[in-house]
Point group: C2
Amino acid sequence: MNTPDPTDAEPQPAATPAMRTRPLVESPALAAKAVQFLSEGPSGFRMSQDEAQRVVAYMRWVSYAPQSFLYREGDSTRTSYMLMVLEGDVSVDTAASGRADRVAISVLGPGALIGEMALLDGAPRSTSCTAITPVQAAGMSQGGLAALADEHPAVAFKLMTFMARSTANRLRALGEQLHMYDQVIADLHQEIDQLRAAKEGRY
Amino acid sequence: MNTPDPTDAEPQPAATPAMRTRPLVESPALAAKAVQFLSEGPSGFRMSQDEAQRVVAYMRWVSYAPQSFLYREGDSTRTSYMLMVLEGDVSVDTAASGRADRVAISVLGPGALIGEMALLDGAPRSTSCTAITPVQAAGMSQGGLAALADEHPAVAFKLMTFMARSTANRLRALGEQLHMYDQVIADLHQEIDQLRAAKEGRY
């Protein structure tokens, strides 16, 4: 029989988080880290420790083995939760046009928020995220966020501000990267002009 | 006297919005537009019409003449409010490294949110925004947002979700632009390789 086994097509991600999550408060050490990360940051709409503890009560504890996927680019099914890295490092990469390999975008460590964009708009994951080391993370589902908004709207406002800031920071970083690319393209055009001039003029 | 007039250095922006704002509800037609834009969008944490009307009560009505600045790149003083375009078009541009002229990023029309990132993190404006046509906009200050969060936290949560979504949309668009630049750079490298091979091989 030549029917290919569809599961052979590519490596399968680790079991979905839903299969192995527990309330984050079951690990007081990890819950304390989540409180710390949530209550850090610039002033203004910053969360207090009390508010952060309220958020943590709605979070799930998720573990990832090294090399397992937290998210896969293009995945439109697992868009209903975001993760905050509590321990370990996560590689963020994307498929590059015209290349077989993938392009590393960044490495995210403790305190980083991952997947909040897909949670906001339900669009497919725009990057893949892979655990480099064992990773402990705090998950917040769309349902959890809706419950928090119902029960503690002022805290939900602070959490959403935290999420919006995280996205804004990434937007600023990407804007700077685009500036850099712009310069690279200008330099390459100049090199091409010089090569052409040499070809026409000297020979 | 040779002392240069500092106001001659470059065109001055129009009077700061603080000088000419009124409560948005003074224009029922513009207030209705703001309600419409706020309550549109994908489902999930979408605002109801009632909630949007609560937000509008905290907004100011700001007018810009053609060619006047809504924001100027690098400005670190006017970061305490955001604007929603209600009528007219706004050009967004940025200084390009290695060039005298400015690079147009996009044109934003009615419904677009401008300046919510600086409102979130207080960082300097990352782009300049100029009115192309007469522009009517709804302004929300940091103080207004804080008051809304105090008085109607559930509505403030929805507004912050709207802001986070706007930022996430822009992040996705910029990510696609970066993919495109990546391809352009790969093509230019290929052209350089061919020009070098031609130079060495044929002559």
